[in-house]
């Protein structure tokens, strides 16, 4: 929990410095000024504070080196990040008509934060949820925000919104008391009105209090919050406000932006990562119907056409020669490369530093040494990357699907040589993201073409482009050495994780995308003598964050090994875990809950049906998952019949939305556990279409999912976008073992891998 502690310290320092609002701050803020000009009461908070709160998590720094090329595979350009703009703040406002506006730089993509934020604000203000209007992701209307990722929104923005709403409520009580001629202690609020407690007929509504006023206050660091036991809105499973427009086709995603005069752009990309342009001939393309222009600058080559299909056809008619890429690196030998090129490593054991497992392991009778591997995985959002950019004399406007509208603004401004304020980003609903829509790509490409041709240009990536030129959850190679002491407890644990951490063209940029403090077993189980080292190796494909970072790989390795230790100890896998979770009561509670929900009855030997369990902590939420599978020994096919999850996220804002986040995490996580792996050679992805890549569908995903929550509303809000992803691979592997008596140490656990493991179990020579 060290990150949580660091966050709170930062929060408190910032809070102390925020007690006054100076004229300088006010005059700098065009955003705030325009909102103030409209009249009403406004609570503001400082962007620096919000960022500091968010940035002190392990996953919140995907914005890489401060200077230099951010990503070698991006269009060339030097980006310098304005660390945190100090002149833009966020706000919660009671308008003169009593309506309430909440502006935040976060983006809604179906995780439910728009609705959750409304609930948090409505609860503290004692107003109906529908009173609140949210503005999200529009860079000229909302506060700076580092981006929507890492299960951060509810965890870190949620408390700020709640605090702002509480500050507003206290302010309204002051104003109301004055209006009603009583002391502030004598009033309370309900349903958008301040009333006198001793004479409830005396009341005044928020609209009256805001009318004719133009005033602003800072968020109060020590504002009293409502007692959670009195909540009537937070904790209710209300329907998400974004759902109706997603069942009738009216929700506007990035791809749906209709911009007057827009044309389609298409890039001519290299056949393999790392190839550079030798020559290019546009003549055939230029003669085609609808083609409006072609462009080449270094390795950046593209064209524009009136219609999408014309741009596609023209791009195919371009004759380009690229340099050969012959690295010899493939998905089959990439783990060797990663281990061979690994850096000096980062110790991940916290303030105490690494223990000394080696000396203990040397004394054990039956030490275990396991190696686990995972492959490269694509994010594969169903909406590919896309953006429309319109560059004019005054600046630029961007309509896009993004998790990071302010990064888009910075990247596009830098590309165009404009101040950031000259670029306005309209963050539309992203059609899936999972980490793929953090680093701006299509936006920069469209900006270059729009600037050159003087027209609004849409770039829309083909599915093949997503598979070949995007970013990937990197491959991992993990070694675990462990064993039991004479009391049947884990005596020592040595974990070395190697992962594709840096892309060769930009070796100074390190993406700690496999790092996650769930790598450290001691954060979860009571184990002495632990050492955890993370090593970033060279990555032949650009690595990046993929829902829950490395926690899934770490949990897979850890939980399978724990099952083996349990067997050696002669204990049921649940009992063995319970024995090692006595110092982690919240995780112990979810484990017991999931086991109870599932009716844990593991098979003995090869029954063809089995139960598996795994746990994880992520984003300050605690998760246990029990999986019931059957394995067809003839085909190697695994069917997941039931998944029983138990999750403790602390204060639960919306159980309906939260349930769906957990369900979705389980289904998404199943896909790379059982099926997905990027196959590549010499910089070229060979399974670059959905049918070849083979993600889960209706027929192959878990048949039934039961989600149980344990929620103590006095605990801080944990994140829920990612935590339930982590346990699935380990739980499935353990269930397969329970069913057929073989362990799999490599993802994905495809039928052919299971058949090979069965053959090995039965003493036959496994076939490739």
């Amino acid at each position: 929990m060290r990150f949580g502690v660091a966050m709170m310290a930062t929060r408190s320092e910032e809070g102390d410095s925020m007690t006054q609002l100076t004229d300088t701050r006010l005059s700098r803020r065009g955003l705030i000024q325009s909102a103030v000009a409209a009249g009403g009461l406004m609570i503001v908070w400082n962007a620096r504070e919000a960022v500091a709160m968010q940035a002190s998590t392990p996953v919140a720094t995907p914005v890489p080196a401060p200077e230099g090329r951010v990503t070698g595979y991006d269009p060339p350009g030097t980006f310098t990040f304005d660390a945190v703009p100090q002149n833009v703040d966020s706000y919660l406002k009671v308008n003169e008509d009593g309506s309430i506006t909440l502006a935040t730089g976060k983006v809604e993509f179906g995780q439910g934060i728009r609705t959750g934020f409304m609930q948090l604000a409505a609860e503290e203000l004692s107003v109906p949820v529908e009173t609140i209007t949210t503005i999200m992701g529009e860079t000229d209307k909302v506060p700076f925000d580092i981006g929507t990722f890492g299960s951060l929104s509810t965890q870190y923005t949620g408390p700020v919104i709640r605090g702002a709403a509480a500050t507003m409520r206290e302010w309204l009580k002051e104003l109301g008391a004055t209006e009603l001629g009583v002391a502030v202690e004598e009033v309370d609020v309900e349903n958008g009105e301040v009333f006198v407690i001793a004479d409830t007929a005396k009341r005044v509504d928020y609209a009256t209090l805001a009318a004719g006023k133009t005033a602003m206050r800072d968020i109060a660091a020590d504002v009293p919050l409502k007692d959670p036991s009195t909540y009537t809105i937070v904790g209710q499973p209300i329907h998400r406000v974004d759902v109706p427009s997603k069942v009738n086709g009216t929700m506007i995603f990035g791809i749906d932006s209709q911009i007057e005069g827009m044309v389609y752009g298409k890039l001519i990309r290299p056949p393999a990562l790392g190839a550079t342009l030798v020559s290019i001939d546009f003549s055939a393309a230029e003669a085609m119907e609808g083609v409006l222009g072609t462009y080449v600058d270094g390795d950046f080559a593209g064209l524009i056409a009136e219609r999408y299909e014309q741009a596609e056809a023209a791009a195919k008619a371009v004759v380009a020669e690229w340099t050969e890429v012959n690295t010899g690196i493939t998905h089959e030998n990439v783990h060797d490369l990663i281990v061979r090129t690994a850096d000096e490593g980062i110790n991940w054991d916290g303030e105490e530093g690494p223990g000394d497992p080696d000396s203990v392991l040397a004394t054990l009778k039956n030490p275990i040494k396991n190696v686990f591997k995972t492959p490269y995985v694509n994010h594969m959002p169903i909406e590919p990357k896309n953006a429309v950019v319109s560059v004019t004399e005054d600046g630029a406007e961007v309509w896009t699907s993004t998790q990071s509208p302010f990064d888009v603004r910075t990247y596009v401004a830098t590309e165009l040589g404009l101040p950031v304020d000259a670029v306005i980003v309209h963050a539309q609903a992203p059609g899936g993201a999972f980490g793929s829509k953090i680093i701006p790509r299509a936006e920069v490409e469209a900006a270059r073409l729009s600037k050159h041709f003087g027209k609004p240009v849409r770039i829309l990536w083909r599915r093949e482009e997503e598979f070949q030129y995007a970013q990937y959850r990197p491959a991992t190679y993990a070694e675990i050495s462990t064993g039991l002491d004479e009391n049947g407890r884990v005596a020592a644990w040595k974990y070395d994780l190697y992962y594709g951490g840096y892309y060769p063209e930009n070796a100074t940029v390190r993406t700690d995308s496999a790092s996650d403090w769930s790598a450290n077993i001691a954060e979860i189980y009571s184990v002495p003598e632990v050492s955890t080292w993370l090593y970033a190796g060279q990555s032949p494909l650009p690595p990046f964050y993929w829902r829950v970072n490395g926690a899934a790989a770490n949990s897979f390795a850890r939980e399978v090994t724990l099952n083996q230790l349990a067997e050696e100890a002669g204990l049921d896998p649940v009992t063995f875990r319970v024995n090692h979770l006595q110092e982690n009561p919240r995780l112990l509670a979810v484990l017991n809950k999931a086991v109870e929900s599932a009716g844990w009855t593991p098979g003995v030997g090869s029954t063809g049906q089995g139960y598996g369990v795994a746990v994880a902590i992520d984003a300050n939420s605690f998760v246990a998952e029990v999986v019931k599978v059957s394995v067809d020994e003839e085909t190697g096919a695994v069917t997941i019949h039931e998944v029983h999850a138990a999750v403790d996220p602390g204060l639960l804002v919306n159980p309906s939305a939260a349930t769906r986040q957990v369900e979705g995490s389980i289904v998404l996580s199943t896909s790379p556990a059982l099926y997905e792996a990027i196959e590549f050679e010499n910089g070229k992805v060979t399974n670059n279409m959905i049918g070849l890549y083979g993600p889960t569908n209706m027929g192959t995903s878990p048949r039934e999912i039961t989600v149980n929550f344990i929620s103590d509303p006095t605990q801080p809000m944990g994140g829920l976008g990612e935590p339930a992803v982590a346990p699935m691979p380990g739980a499935i592997a353990n269930a397969i073992y329970d069913a057929i008596g073989v362990y799999l140490y490599e993802l994905p656990m495809r039928p052919e891998n299971i058949l090979a493991a069965i053959a090995e179990r039965d003493g036959a020579t496994p076939t490739a």
Partner: protein
């Protein structure tokens, strides 16, 4: 100038392209009906699913020539005025969508399924829906919503 006339949601629409143009881009860019989505361009994800004379088809690989003289139904055409279809109602009851991008296609495949099979089994749902990929992982909710829609339809008198 080229032009082609097609029938979308019961309405004749004339668009300024010849009949080799792909239905998806005509819907999205000529008719501004953007509920039908682009996902892969190769009929492998189902995001562009529409109905052609009631049968599910993939708009991303369908030339206009294949739908001239036929009835095309899109996500914009399954509600009766302000009354959502039973599937749309069930989708809201079950809070099915997350990002929502694939859901137009999911709803269209489910619409075709219920039209031919008012009470589908799990296996029927697997077969009809496995071509529609959802990356947010809403499959179990979709399954429940289809069954719920079947109940709603059974309880609703059919006007004829």
């Amino acid at each position: 100038m080229a032009s082609t006339t097609i029938t979308i949601n019961g309405e004749e629409r004339t668009v300024p392209v010849d009949d080799t143009a792909t239905l998806l881009w005509v819907l999205r860019d000529d008719l501004q009906m953007t509920g039908t989505k682009f996902g892969c361009g190769a009929a492998q994800c189902g995001a562009c699913t529409i109905l052609i004379d009631g049968q599910p088809g993939r708009a991303c690989i369908t030339p206009l020539s294949a739908v001239v003289g036929k009835d095309v139904t899109t996500i914009e055409g399954i509600a009766e005025g302000d009354t959502l279809s039973p599937l749309q109602q069930a989708w809201i009851e079950e809070q099915v969508p997350q990002c929502g991008y694939c859901q137009s296609g999911q709803l269209m495949s489910a619409t075709a399924l219920l039209a031919s099979n008012p009470n589908p089994s799990d296996e029927d749902i697997d077969e009809a829906m496995s071509g529609n990929i959802c990356r947010c992982g809403t499959y179990t909710r979709i399954r429940r919503a289809i069954k719920r829609a079947a109940e709603i339809s059974a309880a609703t008198p059919v006007a004829d």
